[in-house]
């Protein structure tokens, strides 16, 4: 049994355990210091570095494999968790929830473990358990600031939608099991395509649709993002989506494809609808978190275009896209977190004339917005172009055209935020930012900026990672 296949997950769990122990052992009762943060950050940072020394492929039974593809996504997930935890420290303290920091960190780490397991799962029940492990801690994290009125409401929404999606996913898995009598992918994949398999596949897709906020299963997103603490959203808006999309790629390559289930046209349709609706609804938002929520829905629409293309190259380019999305989207939410930490409302108005109030924050936010908008020489540009390129290669020109037009629409609202930050004549108080948070934001901005100038290594590594996706050998 190759336990090294799950080594990263186990080590993340160990870090979570250490944080819990520290919390129990610290004498200060509720007024605890920075210990848990430092521990979690150092641990995750070390694991991120260590992930470059992990050997792939490896497998822990047929149910759990670690290939280059999974490893690449796990790095994204680790980085995402690290960013969120860095942001959480000053945020919770400033808002008087500092006493819950250890719980928050542990929950976030659990969710990370779930997401990491999700990309390695190659058996339907493992997939389901991982899927649940991603979600359950996030329900609690959303309601972390339970004193705020909107917080429990947002948590309830994500909980209800999440449970329904799990139920649907489980139903889909049930159908697949009923049709084939097994939950191992290689055996399901070998099964000849029949109606029950098709139905199961469709239900699995819908279950994932809820989780990664594909329209029309995305209704919970804006409210939940608005309710949850901004650093949690920095994680919530990136990690579960990256993991679930990666898992979907695996499903497409290893399960639906071999079983002859045609979901390509569905994916094309969902991609078109998702990017259209996300972009159009984002236009009208005044709340930064809601704006970014809808923009995130739209961004997932772009990734679905790559998923619809369904080639190994498309998978690689989607991985690259998620790197760009990680630094820009998580970065943007960390900026929102910094604004909220400074006592500013997370609205467009709150960002007015940010260039004077905190130049570093404004400059970083500009990079994130440009990256999300897909402007040349920022990482997001390459991400978007390559996703479209993958779609074009699969002949989905209509989708490419729609995406390109919608990217213009998107620019309208991204620029409206930039305009307020830089051109507004209205002014406000200075925005002080805690050093670690600012450092995290600036690192994201630098990656987005420098990566945009020299993207080749990132692209190459993502493409290589995607080529390692291991297709079930025994038929």
């Amino acid at each position: 049994m190759g336990f090294q296949a799950a080594a990263l997950e186990i080590l993340v769990l160990a870090v979570a355990g250490l944080v819990l122990l520290w919390d129990l052992a610290s004498p200060g009762g509720r007024a605890r210091g920075n210990g848990p943060y430092v521990l979690a950050c150092v641990g995750l940072g070390a694991l991120f570095v260590a992930s470059f020394f992990v050997t792939a492929p490896a497998s822990l039974t047929d149910a759990f494999v670690l290939d280059g593809f999974a490893l690449y996504v796990k790095r994204i997930l680790l980085a995402s968790a690290l960013l969120a935890i860095v942001g959480m420290g000053p945020y919770l303290k400033a808002r008087g929830s500092g006493g819950r920091s250890a719980e928050a960190i542990v929950l976030l780490l659990f969710s990370t473990v779930g997401a990491m397991a999700l990309v390695s799962a190659r058996e339907l029940l493992t997939l389901f358990v991982a899927f649940e492990l991603v979600s359950l801690p996030l329900y609690v994290l959303t309601a972390l600031e339970k004193e705020r009125r909107s917080s429990p409401e947002g948590a309830l929404k994500v909980f209800l939608f999440g449970s329904v999606s799990s139920a649907i996913l489980l139903l889909g898995i049930g159908f697949l099991f009923a049709a084939t009598g097994t939950t191992f992918w290689m055996q399901v994949a070998a099964w000849p395509h029949d109606r029950l398999v098709g139905l199961g596949a469709a239900l699995v897709l819908v279950g994932f649709g809820f989780k990664i906020a594909i329209f029309p299963f995305s209704l919970w997103v804006p409210d939940t993002y608005q309710a949850a603490p901004a650093p949690v959203v920095a994680f919530l808006s990136v990690a579960p989506k990256a993991a679930a999309v990666a898992a979907l790629f695996r499903l497409v390559f290893e399960l639906f494809g071999p079983a002859g289930v045609g979901i390509k046209s569905w994916l094309v349709l969902l991609s078109a609808i998702t990017m259209t609706v996300g972009n159009l609804l984002a236009l009208r938002q005044q709340d930064l978190k809601r704006l970014l929520a809808f923009s995130g829905i739209a961004q997932i629409g772009y990734v679905l275009a790559a998923l619809a293309a369904g080639t190994p190259m498309a998978a690689g380019l989607a991985l690259f896209y998620f790197v760009a999305y990680l630094v820009s989207n998580a970065g943007a939410f960390l900026v929102v977190a910094a604004l909220e930490t400074a006592g500013e409302a997370p609205t467009l108005h709150g960002a007015r004339r940010l260039v004077r109030r905190s130049p570093a924050l404004a400059a970083s936010m500009l990079v994130f917005l440009l990256s999300l908008g897909g402007i040349p020489f920022v990482l997001g540009f390459w991400g978007k172009m390559y996703v479209f390129l993958a779609a074009a290669q699969a002949g989905l020109y209509g989708l490419v055209f729609l995406g390109a037009v919608l990217a213009v629409v998107a620019l309208f609202y991204y620029l409206s935020v930039a305009r307020l930050m830089f051109m507004s004549t209205d002014d406000g108080p200075d925005v002080p930012v805690a050093a670690p948070l600012l450092a995290a934001i600036v690192v994201c901005a630098l990656v987005a900026g420098i990566g945009g100038l020299l993207p080749q290594r990132l692209v190459n590594s993502a493409l290589s990672a995607a080529e390692t996706i291991t297709v079930p050998s025994s038929r």
């Binding site: 402007i375 040349p376 020489f377 540009f381 172009m385 390559y386 479209f388 390129l389 074009a392 290669q393 002949g395 020109y397 490419v400 055209f401 390109a404 037009v405 990217a407 213009v408 620019l411 309208f412 620029l415 305009r419 830089f422 051109m423 993207p455 080749q456 692209v459 190459n460 493409l463």
Partner: protein, 506 residues
Amino acid sequence: MSGHLLSLTLAGPFVAAVVVFLLPQSARLAIRLASLAGALVPAATSAVILSRYDVARGGFQLEEHLPLIPRLGVSWHLGADGIAVALLVLTALIHVTSVCTSWSLKSREKEFFLFVALLVTGVYGVFVSLDLFLFFLFYELAVLPMYVLIGIWGSSMDVPGRGPFGGLFKKVGVGLKEYGAMKLTLYLLAGSAFILVGIFVLWVQGGSTFDYVALSRVTFAGASGRTLFLLFYVGFGVLAGIWPFHTWSPDGHAAAPAAGSMMHAGVLMKLGAYGVLRVGFGLLPAAAADLAWLVGLVAVINIVYGALGAGWQKDIKYLIAYSSVSHMGVVMLGMATLNAAGITGSVYQMVAHGIMTALFFTLVNLVYDISHLRDMTRMGGFAHAMPALATFFVIAGLSSLGLPGLAGFVAELLVFLGAWTSAHPWWLVPGVLGAFITALYVLRAVRTIFLGQAPPADLHLRDARGAEWATCLLLGGALVVLGVWPKLLLDPIGAGVGELLTRLGR
């Protein structure tokens, strides 16, 4: 460095942008000097490139090739043929003069010069890219800073926007500059959506490469070739101001600050025409030949419609902007002739129009800065107080209506010659009609603004001075030089066009 002249040209403004970004806002002189240096370096390299370009050999020269992302067929492939060389010279001239004309700017200079430098980097990049991905990247980079330039430094005069959305913007209380900036950006980026799809189709059908030279060996024939051509024609045509997608242009130009409209009318619109010529005609010759009738038809509509539109205006900025629409029609008409005279004239008109419009916008903005008037009907006799400006306005105007001895004449003559010998000689009729209307509105503008009784004393008029003189002299001088010594650019342009004609099978 001689092997990297093209990269050096790009590096000039880009480094200037970085330096300006790092300088503090208070270092006003340093910011200006860095920007000027960033303009002079590419000006020098363009001059060297022009002198080194081997007309006898033709084709792409000074090539640089460095694989960027080989697995996706993206490379740093630069090269310039005669057409690109001529446009590099134009860009350098406009760049230098637009820095000069902004010398006395007094608000947020740091950002201003930063965005101008970025924009120009994009422009140079488009002209020298031989990799379509790079081409697209620079194209976007050239278009986007305009949003900021207009949005911050634009003219906030409350002139209602035109077109279907004008009323809407007026209702929500958005000023002209926001309207102009947003309209321009959205139009141009919507155009680039067409281009993007086109480029990706080329990539897929051309064997997973973006390399221009490699793609030019692939034949894209038949209906799919024609569809591709239309994608590029519409996509680039929006920026070139082709009818009916030109409406962003008057609003954008009228709202833009001096350097912005100089850049835009002077150089950016040429990117559109260049794109149609380079990608549309160069890579899809068969389809271009099939659809030349359409390009020509739209071009003559542009010529007449733009001229009539200009004749209709009272606001001088709108007048110049509409005249640009008309003159870009001449550029497109030249291409549609598919013969040596016409296409050479088309490129020459790009250069001539670039210089002349830049001069026009400089003058119009100076007149506005001095008198605070843009409505022609309220002006008159300005020549008494500003003889130099009046003189330059007349030079630009005469070039615009095609007076021999000025750059515009050479260009129009070649285009009309080309039209006469093309498959559609009747294009000459609306073409010449447009030139005639141009004469009418230009002379009328000269009369109403500069001639007649001396203006009332309370206007406090003055003449050009300092950097303004330098700007006018450079641009006006260039018009005269290109008018009396057309060989300077005609030779390299001819070399570039010759190769293009071979590809077009003519």
